[in-house]
Symmetry: C2
Subunit: 315 residues, 2 copies
Amino acid sequence: MRLAVVGAGAVGRAVADLAGEYGHDVVALADSSSAAVGEGVDVEAALATKDDTGRVGEHDPEAALEADYDVLVEATPTTLGSAEPGFGHVVSALERDRHVVLANKGPVAERYDDVRAAERESAGSVRFEATVGGAIPVLSTIADAGPGQVTAARGVLNGTANFILTRMAAEGLDYEHVLAEAQDLGVAEADPSFDVEGTDAALKCVILANVLGDGGYTLDDADVTGITDVPGEALELAAEDGRTIRLIGEVVGDRVRVGPRLIPEHGTLAVSGTRNIVQLETNHAGRLNVSGRGAGGPETATAVFSDVGRLPPLE
Amino acid sequence: MRLAVVGAGAVGRAVADLAGEYGHDVVALADSSSAAVGEGVDVEAALATKDDTGRVGEHDPEAALEADYDVLVEATPTTLGSAEPGFGHVVSALERDRHVVLANKGPVAERYDDVRAAERESAGSVRFEATVGGAIPVLSTIADAGPGQVTAARGVLNGTANFILTRMAAEGLDYEHVLAEAQDLGVAEADPSFDVEGTDAALKCVILANVLGDGGYTLDDADVTGITDVPGEALELAAEDGRTIRLIGEVVGDRVRVGPRLIPEHGTLAVSGTRNIVQLETNHAGRLNVSGRGAGGPETATAVFSDVGRLPPLE
């Protein structure tokens, strides 16, 4: 397939870089201010140019949306509310009867019903495995089981928060101390609020709720508490009882909630460090667990390629 | 899709029973001595007839293979070597340009290359998610990642053996004692050798090896040791070191092996009771884990329906 990759952060770069290995061609690569466009974009050169000059190419970024592609890979930063410019990119591709593969959570967390409406009018399809759990095959597992067969989903969906709580429990340190450590390691951002306040995990849960319930949810529907007020003493008390505290997201019935929860310290949900896990409850197959790396450029790119591989050829 | 279900054991019965819920019709249901055939087989009646008389229907079993179906669900007992009669059923369906979904491990463990050869000559496709890990989406996860991207697979693939070792470790009991308990619970068969000697786990690993390596493996290629000689003392010693012993199957490079292994007692591979887990090592996504119920009629049926759902419509 010919890919137009919009977004040249960690995920966009990895998708562009690995596309050849998966048998695909990059026909456009755009960052926020420029684009490289052509039959076969020289990805290595474009990324080197970006490293040197801050721009991937000579064209305006819109040129990527106008290129001759089969699949738009939307990997611009997640935005809330109107989910722009990501949502507009999705619509642009669908109006051209092209496919969209999202790594950007915004359109399917905040504008899910609008995305599906645009998809119904298009020959193209929208897939978004990369938006939930990085490399972990969450949405494809739900799709294969049949969304109507899955009665609940819960899990650890933010690696930054999980890393911090894992370290607090392991070392008996307080939140501020471990946050600083996480920032030094690059596991937490300079402004970590999206992760530690639970917003990132909540967006993923909202996407799960939309998939399981066929739409109707936005971030406003989620009940969200982050980890910023979890005291070290709470983890010590939990440990005396064979338990620990992790930031757990849950979708059951029409409730979507994220918050610190006590869980068995050696239980399945107690994944360590930055790993993620999703547990699905099903009608006939009991509980299924899928876990792995929930973030990272190459990791998330594998989910993008998994989606590309499941798209039907276009006319 | 119209399903011809061959095999009326736990899995075949569950597939026939749940087909309607998944939107499919059962046009034939066969056990070893008879078949019920028709536009819409009354599955409830056929299964009741089997309970009363030992036969599902009035026709000869071959009538199921001649019925007007889209997908043959092959759920007869796994056989080794020539993998008959299962292999013959696969060929019969493919020669009629129909799809096959296998729950029977024999054809894809012992005759994989022959199955793929027959598939290449057919408009029908062969899928076999249910042969590895019951309800757990192992093969679809490998397919979505791209088999060339998966460098190793390992896991707990036999619930009977895992249950026995879990109980030996938990209770400090010896093998013979726990085996008897497992048989009382119906977790182990009267003749448990297929499970406790590692053959069942080995067949699943051989299937994984065939998928990852594009064929070439049979049970003879697997290095197999079961759990019958694991002494209770070994588990006690392991526990003193924070470890336990489980029957682990592994496919890495061109090696396929099954045997009792020391693993961290609270690690990811240490699933409890009859649960199964498969761990995949990948090029760009690190380690992925999928776990859940590895056996059971309804559980395995969900994997069959997952495969049916991914089959293309036939002309």
